[in-house]
């Protein structure tokens, strides 16, 4: 069972500020969904290797070549707040 406290903890990890209503809804829905998914437990997977990726790709390397980089202006064009050539954020420490 997922408690409301678990939901608070997961929301903090996911950097989400939930309203009281959302907390209740997600507690109920996550319990419903995970309860429904419990039948995965029926499968014995002791000797099964996990698949993270379906293609046999390993250590994809390429030549390092000189190219055109994005201009500073382009990189900063979408930022909500800036100080000259820096991204500006609220106080950290």
């Amino acid at each position: 069972m997922i408690s409301k406290k678990d939901v608070d903890q997961v929301a903090l990890l996911g950097r989400l500020e939930l309203t009281g209503e959302e907390k209740e809804m997600f507690t109920r829905q996550l319990n419903d969904i995970l309860e429904h998914f419990r039948f995965l437990e029926r499968l014995d997977t002791t000797d099964v290797q996990p698949t993270a990726h379906v293609l046999p790709l390993k250590n994809v390397l390429r030549e390092d070549w000189p190219g055109q980089h994005m201009s500073r202006e382009d990189a900063l064009a979408n930022c909500p707040d800036r100080d000259e050539d820096y991204f500006k954020v609220p106080r950290i420490v």
Binding site: R15, L30, L43, T45, L55, P80, V89, P90
Partner: protein, 485 residues
């Protein structure tokens, strides 16, 4: 002649024979958009001036007697989760409502280089999470065959645009069925190519081990033409497969004699609406009468695909969506006390319910104490699901099933119950988990609503799908039907 109803290859002939100009064609499509868009709502943005400018360039090439490419001058639509240089790209989310990318996705560049004319960006479920477009932060797209119903999702805008004559071809993305489901609901051809066959550079990521870009078209020939443009290796996408894409039009052969087709019985079990079941059986009989060997087979781990997908995809999403923090682009909440408060307020204001739900589910599945029980377990079951397909493809060239258990459902019918909405993907998600190509082809109508036949093949065997689909299409006329809007 209604230009907006034609296929790309028919329009290409008209263009090179100078019966129409690219400007006329694009104007006809923009006129069509103007007359039906209020009912359909396929587009988040339209790009008329730029499109007509591009069309004029193509006309100039034709006038000078230069050889034009098969998609030159053809109006295409792009799902709004693919970056377009200088053109707003929202991913259907408030958090990116004003995001103007400084570069274009590789597929967008390739279409551009092929002369295709981008007419607009299409609606989708927020960050491609959904099966109906009802999760778009902006509005719900309507099914052109019945505007009280959903077009399917998440690429609902791209499917509806092609079905309604608001674009000739379009691009969507498919993580758990997001091309095939809307193709089925809207009665168009949709293909999810093999994982890695199409570059995802510039695609706004949802679940990176599953996401794949693919085309929507009015027929199978156009599908092959689109694949010719978008498939191939891209050094900018490290998960893109290093392979030489064939000329897909070579597979447009009206012949399935001797083709071995397996029908997974799990996909034809209870839960499939009788009218859908009937049309799939009829399609199988036709393929058999044309010389294919059709027999029932089994993919025994099918019932585990849904929970496997809905653990893996949200886990990857919770990681991919960590980048939306209000620092470098997108929305930033006002009045924060400190930076953590700013992150939390920004994300809470910027994301819709389904996105939050998947971030919560994914974060939980990855968190300490639950990782082994949920995420790792899902990765292991994924192996079993993939092995089911490996075994089936030792015996069969192709697997065939319904795309969806039902026809398009009503707007609002499933919005209150996320689990019911997730079940819409039950026939399509295994294909993404296994990374194989999957396709939806129109195979009839039930109660006036289109039904799609799903074709599934071996890795990089898009050609076999195209051949079977082309044969089916040449011997039926469902793809010629057009919705009365």
């Amino acid at each position: 002649m209604q230009l907006f109803r034609q296929t790309a290859h028919e329009l290409h002939s008209l263009l090179i024979n100078k019966e129409i100009s690219a400007v006329e064609l694009n104007e006809a499509v923009f006129d069509r958009i103007a007359s039906v868009e209020e009912k359909v709502g396929a587009y988040l943005s339209r790009i008329r001036e730029r499109a007509l400018e591009r069309a004029r360039v193509i006309d100039e090439q034709i006038r000078k007697g230069e050889k034009i490419l098969p998609l030159s001058g053809i109006p295409v639509a792009i799902k709004d989760n693919m970056c377009t240089d200088g053109i707003t790209t929202t991913a259907g989310s408030k958090i990116l409502a004003n995001f103007v990318p400084p570069y274009s996705a590789t597929v967008v560049k390739k279409l551009d280089a092929a002369g295709a004319v981008m007419v607009g960006k299409t609606n989708l479920d927020e960050f491609a999470m959904g099966s109906s477009t009802e999760n778009s932060a902006f509005f719900t797209t309507r099914n052109p065959w019945d505007t009280s119903r959903v077009p399917g999702g998440s690429s609902g805008g791209s499917a509806a645009a092609v079905a309604a004559g608001e674009a000739v071809c379009s691009l969507g993305s498919d993580t758990g069925g997001s091309i095939r489901l809307p193709a089925s609901f809207c009665g168009v051809v949709g293909m999810k190519p093999t994982y890695g066959a199409v570059s995802r550079f510039g695609l706004i990521a949802y679940a990176s081990s599953l996401d794949q870009i693919g085309p929507f078209t009015r027929d199978v020939t156009d599908c092959a033409l689109m694949l010719n443009i978008i498939c191939g290796h891209d050094p900018l996408d490290s998960t893109s497969a290093d392979f030489q894409a064939p000329d897909y039009t070579q597979f447009l052969i009206n012949d399935v004699r001797g083709m071995k087709i397996g029908v997974p019985e799990e996909y034809m079990a209870e839960g499939i609406a009788p009218e859908v079941h009937g049309l799939i059986r009829k399609a199988l009989e036709l393929l058999e009468s044309l010389g294919a060997n059709v027999e029932y087979t089994t993919l025994p781990h099918t019932e585990y695909a849904l929970p496997t997908y809905y653990l893996i995809a949200p886990a990857e999403a919770s990681s991919n969506l960590a980048r939306y923090d209000g620092v470098r682009y997108g929305l930033r909440a006002e009045d924060s006390e400190d930076i953590i408060d700013m992150f939390m307020k920004t994300r809470s204001q910027g994301f819709g319910s389904e996105v939050k739900r998947r971030i919560m589910l994914g974060t939980y599945a990855l968190s300490a104490g639950y990782y082994d029980a949920y995420y790792l377990k899902a990765l292991k079951v994924r192996t079993l699901i993939k092995e089911d397909f490996d075994r089936a493809f030792e015996k069969y060239d192709l697997l065939v099933s319904p795309v969806s258990p039902t026809t398009a459902f009503r707007i609002g019918e499933k919005t209150d119950d996320p689990l019911q909405m997730y079940l819409s993907d039950v026939c399509t998600i295994s294909v993404n988990l296994a990374g194989i190509p999957g396709m939806s082809v129109p195979c009839g109508f039930a109660g006036g609503l289109p039904v799609g036949l799903q074709l599934m093949g071996r890795h990089f065997n898009e050609g076999t799908l195209l051949r079977a689909a082309y044969t089916f299409e040449q011997n039926t006329s469902y793809h010629k039907e057009f919705p009365a809007l």
